[in-house]
């Protein structure tokens, strides 16, 4: 008599437990989904390593020391260039050169750098002097790496790879097919994906292909931090005016950081840099720079306004016919639909410049 309700409750509990188990297993199965993930950066590292080892070398994976000296400590991306991603490379010889006196280091240092390079034997290891620094393991560094917007470090996804290579230079004291020295070295390649690399790529592709380029602009943290919010405008129509700190479509009180944009570095026209104007309207360059073919025109003053807004937008790079490059005095022209259709270059037009503009995501 007293056991019946207990048995009923127990059966109900068992039923409930089994039902829950079935639901849980089904839920786990239904929740699982296939995610296609393309490791674009990793792919870019291996593709770039392949192409660098072919096009930057005298033979496969054997680099010419003279060519490396020419690009050492520059932001050039020589031999091979990935448009969307920037790369920096460091090539370092693998082993220290043993020695017992200074003279033994002469040919080694001369081979790597040039005949005027200072050399010495220190603790039984050769040292060469490069850029006023003594080094035991000579190395070369070049390429794009994220810089700083004043004190804010630019950050973005990156991937790297390490490859065995060799550094070669025709021996100055010998001649002939087999009289060259190759020194084992390591190539460390790192690929970066930042707003500047993406934007310079869009500009480059728009200029060369004469087609509008577009992608989602999701307001990187470092840009938001630089502004104090995801918003900003660029150059004003007059040198005495500075527009700053956009919020929505209205510009607000000028801040200390206005006019953030990409511009040719006036001292080095091969470089495109993020720059800004301070409250007094003075142009300030940041160290966030990337090389961009000097023949590609973009962003003339007065038509170089960027609208960042408060949410993700579509950013477009629009090729403009050369006839319209100097005729523009248009204010607040950061919206793509403000660009007259007749100014956009087509297949048979000469491109004068490329403008970046923003559009809402439909």
């Amino acid at each position: 008599m007293s056991l019946l309700p207990f048995q009923s409750i127990f059966t109900l509990l068992r039923l409930l437990a089994v039902t829950l188990l079935v639901i849980a297993v089904f839920w786990l199965f239904v929740q699982s989904k296939a995610e296609l993930k393309l490791n674009e950066l990793e792919l870019a590292v291996s593709d770039l390593a392949e192409d660098l080892s072919t096009h930057g070398t005298v033979r496969n994976a054997v680099f010419d020391a003279e060519e490396l000296n020419a690009v050492d400590n520059t932001i050039q991306e020589p031999f091979a260039r990935h448009c969307s991603f920037g790369y920096d490379a460091k090539i370092e010889v693998q082993k220290k050169q043993q020695c017992s006196d200074d003279n033994q280091c002469q040919s080694y240092c001369n081979l790597i750098y040039d005949s005027s390079t200072e050399y010495r034997c220190n603790d039984n290891v050769c040292e060469c002097k490069n850029d006023d620094k003594w080094t035991k393991k000579p190395s070369w560094s070049f390429g794009y790496s994220p810089g700083k917007l004043q004190n804010i470090q630019v950050e973005g996804p990156s991937a790297d790879g390490k490859y065995p290579i060799a550094v070669f230079k025709p021996h100055p004291l010998r001649s002939g097919d087999y009289d060259n020295d190759a020194i084992p070295a390591t190539l460390v390649l790192r690929v970066h994906d930042t707003w500047l690399t993406r934007a310079t790529c869009m500009i480059e592709n728009a200029y060369k292909s004469k087609q509008i380029q577009e992608e989602i602009f999701d307001c990187p943290d470092y840009l938001s931090e630089f502004y104090g919010g995801c918003g900003g405008a660029l150059e004003a129509p007059g040198s005495d005016q500075v527009w700053c700190s956009y919020s929505g479509t209205q510009y607000m009180t000028p801040s200390g950081r206005c006019g953030l944009t990409i511009k040719r570095n006036s001292t080095n026209p091969d470089d495109a840099c993020i720059f800004y104007k301070n409250i007094r309207g003075e142009e300030k360059y940041t160290t966030e720079c990337r090389t961009l073919d000097a023949n590609i025109e973009f962003y003339k003053a007065y038509n170089s306004m960027i609208y960042l807004g408060n949410e993700a937008k579509i950013i477009k790079a629009v090729p403009i016919k050369s006839a319209y490059v100097n005729s523009q005095q248009d204010p607040i022209n950061f919206r793509c639909d403000n660009i007259p259709a007749n100014q956009i270059a087509g297949e048979n037009d000469d491109v004068g410049t490329v403008r970046l503009c923003f559009e809402d995501i439909p």
Binding site: R14, L36, H55, C83, S84
Partner: protein
């Protein structure tokens, strides 16, 4: 206690049988997602060109295009468009710039006829030929 375990075991067997039944259509869905992903096709084509740039002269590679409504434009970059569930999926991938010239090329896929692209490294140039059938 034994009865509870029997219940649980029976339920699990039923669930596993249902899951196995669903696995095949689920795998087909994944394969379809891969086949109709513009990003995958664009990236694969860019990868072929990037590798051919560092390959010996006369190296070739064939790429089979999907049997779908799609087109590919090879220019400064790779642009792939494919129609999937009535909508065009569009993606681009970058070609690494070296001293090798990449020929400009455009082709369309076909729903019924199998088509492909033959990539050829010829001297300092990469050429493309459309393949049908």
């Amino acid at each position: 206690m034994m009865e509870v375990l029997q219940w649980a075991l029976l339920s699990l067997v039923v669930v596993v049988i249902v899951m196995i039944g669903l696995l095949t259509p689920w795998t087909d869905l994944v394969n379809e997602a891969i086949r109709t992903s513009a990003q995958i096709h664009a990236t694969q084509i860019a990868g072929i060109i990037n590798l051919l740039q560092s390959s010996p002269d006369k190296t070739t590679h064939s790429y089979i295009l999907p049997n779908a409504e799609c087109n590919v434009t090879i220019g400064e970059n790779i642009l792939f468009r494919i129609k999937n569930a009535g909508k065009y999926d569009r993606a681009s991938a970058e070609i690494i710039k070296t001293n090798i010239t990449v020929q400009k090329f455009y082709t369309e896929c076909n729903d019924t006829i199998s088509k492909g692209i033959l990539f050829i490294r010829e001297g300092n140039e990469i050429k493309m030929i459309e393949q049908v059938g």
